[in-house]
C-alpha cells in the first residue's frame, strides 16, 4: 500500500501474523471477513474456526502474511464489520499456538512400521488408524513441529495430509479477544 515516506520505519517488512477474533455466528460472516482481508492484498495462509464457550459466538484464528501497517489497517477494517465483535493480534512470544495434523503414511512392512511408531512416540503423536500397508497418525504442536515431523515421514511416503491451521490463546488469566457482554440480538 502507499504510504507517506516521511515516517516509514521498517513497517513495510512482510511477516506472519496471527489474528484472533470473536464474531457473531451468523450466515455470511466468513465471506465478509475473508473478503476484507483479500481487499487489502493479504494472503491468508491458515484459518481455523469454531464455536466458543458462549452460544452464538464463534472464534476465528487467521494466519496472514503482510507488513504490520497494512495489518493494522486490515484489523481496523475488520472491527468495522457489525458481526465482528473483537479483534486481537496474538504475538507468538506471549501465546500458546497449536495445530493438529492427520497424516496418512505408507508402512509396507514391519520394519517401516516400527520406525514410524518410534517417530510418532518421539513427537508425542497417536496412531488412530492402521491398515496392512499404511497408517494414520495425529500430531499436535506448532506449525514448525508438524513441518519437521512431515519431513521425517516423507522418506516413508506420505499419502495425504490434513492440517487444521493453527489456533491460539494468549498466556495468563486474561481473555483476548474478550467476548463483550452486550446482549446478542436475535435475528438470523
Amino acid at each position: 500500500m502507499t504510504s507517506n515516506s516521511r515516517k516509514d520505519g521498517n513497517e513495510n517488512q512482510v511477516r506472519k501474523h496471527i489474528i484472533a477474533f470473536i464474531v457473531e455466528d451468523r450466515p455470511g460472516v466468513m465471506a465478509r471477513v475473508t473478503g476484507l482481508i483479500r481487499r487489502r492484498n493479504f494472503n491468508i495462509t491458515q484459518i481455523s474456526v469454531a464455536r466458543t464457550q458462549i452460544e452464538n459466538y464463534t472464534r476465528m484464528t487467521f494466519v496472514v502474511q503482510g507488513d504490520s501497517r497494512t495489518l493494522e489497517q486490515a484489523i481496523k477494517q475488520l472491527r468495522k464489520q457489525v458481526e465482528v465483535l473483537k479483534v486481537s493480534e496474538l504475538k507468538p512470544q506471549t501465546s500458546v499456538v497449536r495445530e493438529l495434523a492427520l497424516i496418512k503414511v505408507k508402512s509396507p512392512d514391519v520394519n517401516a512400521r516400527n520406525e514410524i511408531i518410534q517417530y510418532i512416540n518421539i513427537f508425542r503423536g497417536n496412531i488412530i488408524d492402521i491398515s496392512p500397508t499404511s497408517l494414520i497418525c495425529e500430531i499436535t504442536g506448532d506449525s514448525e513441529k508438524i513441518d519437521a515431523f512431515l519431513k521425517l515421514m516423507n522418506s516413508f511416503g506420505v499419502i495425504e495430509v490434513a492440517r487444521t491451521g493453527i489456533t491460539a490463546l494468549v498466556r495468563g488469566s486474561e481473555a483476548r479477544p474478550k467476548i463483550p457482554e452486550t446482549p446478542y440480538l436475535d435475528y438470523v
Binding site: S3, N4, S5, P183, L185, D186, Y187
Partner: protein, 590 residues
C-alpha cells in the same frame, strides 16, 4: 392495527410486507425512490395503503441506478436517510453503481431489494442474483431477512447503521416468501444496542489537549475540511474555530460549503483541480488540522511530497481512516462536531491575553489573503464565442442564492463548478467525489429537489454524463420534480479529452461523441422545456427564467471543447506544482 394486551408492541400475525411498510414509517421515511418488479411488488402493494394516507411516497424511477443516486441526493441534501428500492436480479444489480457511490462518499442510504423465495435461493431461479455477495465490499452492512419476525429489528438496525457513525449504504434483501408470510412481530423503540458497533463520538481528552496546544502555537496553521464536517453538521463549530484563531481553511470536494466560500479565511477547494491559493499553501503549513476527510489521492497527489514538514491533527469518526494514507501526529477518533466543540473549549482555557498572534502568523494570514484575492478571477471571463465554461459559472453564480443546491455530473463540468462556484452553506453542493460516477448529476438533483422542494436545484452536467441517466426526465415530468439542468455541451468526453490533450499527444481516442443527440428534442419528448444556447448573452436570462419555472428546464449550452480545466495537479505530481490556470501568473506576481 390491533394491539394485544400484556405486550403493547406485539401485533398478532401481520403480513411481512406490511411489517416492512410499518417499519419504514417508524423510521420516519417519507420518500422512497424505486421501481417495482416480480419480487418486490408485494411490498409495493402493502405500501399503497401508506401512500394513500400520505405517510409514504414512492417516486417511480425509470432505471434503478437513478433510484440509488436519487436516494443519495436526497440523503445529502436533507441529512436524513435516503431509501431506494428495486426488485431482485437485474433490479438489484442496477442499484450497485449507486450503492458503490454512496459507499465512497459516505451517504446514508438504505437499499431494499426483492429476492426470490428462500426455498429457491441458490438454485439460479428466475431473476435471482446474490446481491448480498455482490455488494459485500461496498456496503456498511447488509442483511437478508429470513424470518418475518426479524423484520422490525433488521430494518431498525439498517437505518441506525446507515444514519449514525460514519454514514454509509446498508442493503436489506427481502425474499418473496418473507413479504408474503405472517408472524407475530415486535416493534422496537429507541436506539438498539449493537454489540459489534460502537462509533466513538467524543475525542480523547488528552489528544484534544495536545492538538489544541499545537494549533495555538502554530505559526502557519491550516484546516482541511471534508465531507465529515457536512455529515456531522459541524459547520458552526468549524467557523467558530476558524474565527477564534484566524486559521485559513481549504475544503475537499466533499467539504464544499462547510464554510461560506466568500469567508475571508476560506481558500476554496484543494486537490487536483483545486484553487492555486489552496494547493500552493497546503505544504507551507506547519500544523494541519484535517477534519472529516480521508487524504484521498485527488487531494494529496504525490504522497512523498505531501505535508512532509507539517504536524498533522486528524479528526475522523472512522478509526480506519487514521494513518491510512498519511501518517498523522495527533489522531483524534470522534464525531467532527463533538470534537471541534471539545477543541474550542480546550483552546478557551489555553488562550491568555499574552497569546496574541505572532508576527509569523500575521505574515501567513497576509500571504493567504493576497493569494486568495489573486484567485478571485471569475470576473475576467468574458462572453465570447465559443462559450467558455467559466463564463457559465460566472453567470450561474449571479443567479444562485444561499439555499440553491448545485448538483454536478462527473468530468470537466464537475470541476468547473467545484472550482469556481462559491457555495455558502453545507449540503448545497452535491457531487460524486470518491467513485466519480458519470450519470450521477441528474438523478441526484431529483433526489435533492424531493428533499428540499423550496430550493432551486441546478444540475451542472456534461453531455456525456447527462446521457447516461437522462431517461428519468420522465420521472421529473410524471412526479413533478422541477430542476434545472445545465449541460456544458462539448460533444466529447471532456475530462478524458483533456488528459489526451495533455499527456497523450492529442490522440483523441474514443472521446468524440459526434453531433447527436438534440437535447432540446429529447427534453421536449418528455414534455419538458429544452433550450439550446450558442450565444453567451442568452445564458443569464435563461438561468433566471429556469429558476422561476415550475417544470424542469434543460439548458444545453455549446461550449468550447478545447477549453481545459486548470489549475491541474497531474496525477502523481506534487500539490506544490500545479499547472496554473491562465489568469494566475498575471494576477499573482510573487
Amino acid at each position: 392495527m390491533t394491539e394485544t394486551t400484556g405486550c403493547d408492541k406485539k401485533v398478532p400475525f401481520m403480513k411481512g410486507a406490511k411489517v416492512i411498510a410499518e417499519s419504514l414509517k417508524r423510521e420516519k421515511v417519507k420518500n422512497i425512490f424505486g421501481i417495482t418488479g416480480g419480487a418486490i411488488m408485494i411490498l409495493y402493494d402493502a405500501l399503497q395503503e401508506y401512500e394513500k394516507a400520505g405517510e409514504l411516497n414512492n417516486i417511480l424511477c425509470r432505471h434503478e441506478q437513478v433510484a440509488a443516486h436519487a436516494a443519495e441526493g436526497y440523503a445529502r441534501a436533507s441529512g436524513e436517510v435516503g431509501v431506494c428500492m428495486a426488485t431482485s436480479g437485474p433490479g438489484a444489480t442496477n442499484l450497485v453503481t449507486g450503492i458503490a457511490d454512496a459507499w465512497m462518499d459516505s451517504s446514508s442510504v438504505v437499499a431494499l431489494t426483492g429476492q426470490v423465495a428462500t426455498s429457491l435461493i441458490g438454485g439460479d431461479a428466475f431473476q435471482e442474483a446474490d446481491i448480498i455477495g455482490i455488494t459485500m465490499p461496498i456496503v456498511k452492512s447488509s442483511f437478508q431477512i429470513r424470518r418475518v419476525k426479524d423484520i422490525p429489528l433488521i430494518i431498525k438496525m439498517a437505518f441506525q447503521l446507515a444514519r449514525t457513525g460514519r454514514p454509509g449504504p446498508v442493503l436489506v434483501d427481502l425474499p418473496k416468501d418473507i413479504q408474503v408470510g405472517e408472524d407475530e412481530v415486535y416493534f422496537y423503540e429507541g436506539e438498539l444496542e449493537i454489540a459489534g458497533y460502537n462509533p466513538n463520538i467524543k475525542g480523547h481528552p488528552l489528544q484534544i489537549k495536545r492538538a489544541a496546544k499545537a494549533l495555538l502555537e502554530a505559526e502557519r496553521p491550516l484546516i482541511i475540511a471534508g465531507g465529515g464536517v457536512t455529515a456531522s453538521n459541524a459547520s458552526p463549530e468549524l467557523i467558530e474555530l476558524v474565527e477564534m484563531l484566524g486559521i485559513p481553511v481549504v475544503t475537499t470536494l466533499m467539504g464544499k460549503g462547510t464554510i461560506p466560500e466568500d469567508h475571508p479565511y476560506c481558500l476554496g477547494m484543494v486537490g487536483m483541480h483545486g484553487k492555486m491559493c489552496a494547493n500552493l499553501n497546503i505544504n507551507k503549513a506547519d500544523v494541519i488540522l484535517a477534519v472529516g476527510m480521508r487524504f484521498d489521492d485527488r487531494v494529496t497527489a504525490d504522497l512523498t511530497t505531501f505535508l512532509t514538514e507539517s504536524k498533522i491533527i486528524h479528526i475522523d469518526i472512522d478509526s480506519a481512516e487514521i494513518s491510512k494514507n498519511v501518517l498523522v501526529d495527533y489522531p483524534i477518533v470522534g464525531d467532527a462536531k463533538t470534537v471541534l466543540r471539545q477543541l474550542i473549549e480546550g483552546l478557551k482555557t489555553l488562550i491568555t491575553s499574552s497569546s496574541s498572534n505572532s508576527d509569523k502568523k500575521t505574515a501567513w494570514q497576509k500571504r493567504i489573503k493576497e493569494m486568495r484575492e489573486a484567485c478571485d478571477c471569475l470576473e475576467e471571463y468574458e462572453p465570447v464565442t465559443p462559450i467558455k465554461p467559466q463564463y457559465i459559472m460566472k453567470e450561474l453564480q449571479k443567479v444562485l442564492d444561499d439555499d440553491s443546491i448545485v448538483v454536478t455530473g462527473v468530468g470537466r463540468n464537475q470541476m468547473w463548478a467545484a472550482h469556481h462556484l462559491r457555495i455558502r452553506k453545507p449540503r448545497r453542493f452535491i457531487s460524486s467525489g470518491g467513485l466519480g460516477t458519470m450519470g450521477f448529476g441528474f438523478p441526484a438533483s431529483l433526489g435533492a429537489k424531493v428533499a428540499k422542494p423550496d430550493s432551486w436545484v441546478v444540475d451542472v452536467d456534461g453531455d456525456g454524463s447527462f446521457l447516461m441517466t437522462h431517461q428519468d426526465l420522465a420521472t421529473s415530468f410524471v412526479e413533478n420534480i422541477p430542476v434545472t439542468v445545465i449541460i456544458l455541451d462539448d460533444r466529447s468526453l471532456g475530462m478524458v479529452r483533456q488528459w489526451q490533450s495533455l499527456f497523450f499527444e492529442k490522440r483523441f481516442v474514443e472521446t468524440d461523441l459526434g453531433t447527436v443527440p438534440d437535447f432540446v428534442k429529447i427534453t421536449e419528448a418528455y414534455g419538458l422545456e429544452g433550450i439550446r444556447i450558442e450565444n453567451p448573452s442568452e445564458i443569464g436570462p435563461a438561468l433566471r427564467e429556469a429558476k422561476k419555472a415550475d417544470h424542469t428546464v434543460v439548458i444545453d449550452i455549446a461550449v468550447d471543447k478545447n477549453e481545459n480545466v486548470f489549475p491541474m495537479v497531474p496525477a502523481g505530481g506534487s500539490t506544490d506544482q500545479p499547472i496554473p490556470c491562465e489568469p494566475w501568473p498575471r494576477r499573482y506576481k510573487k
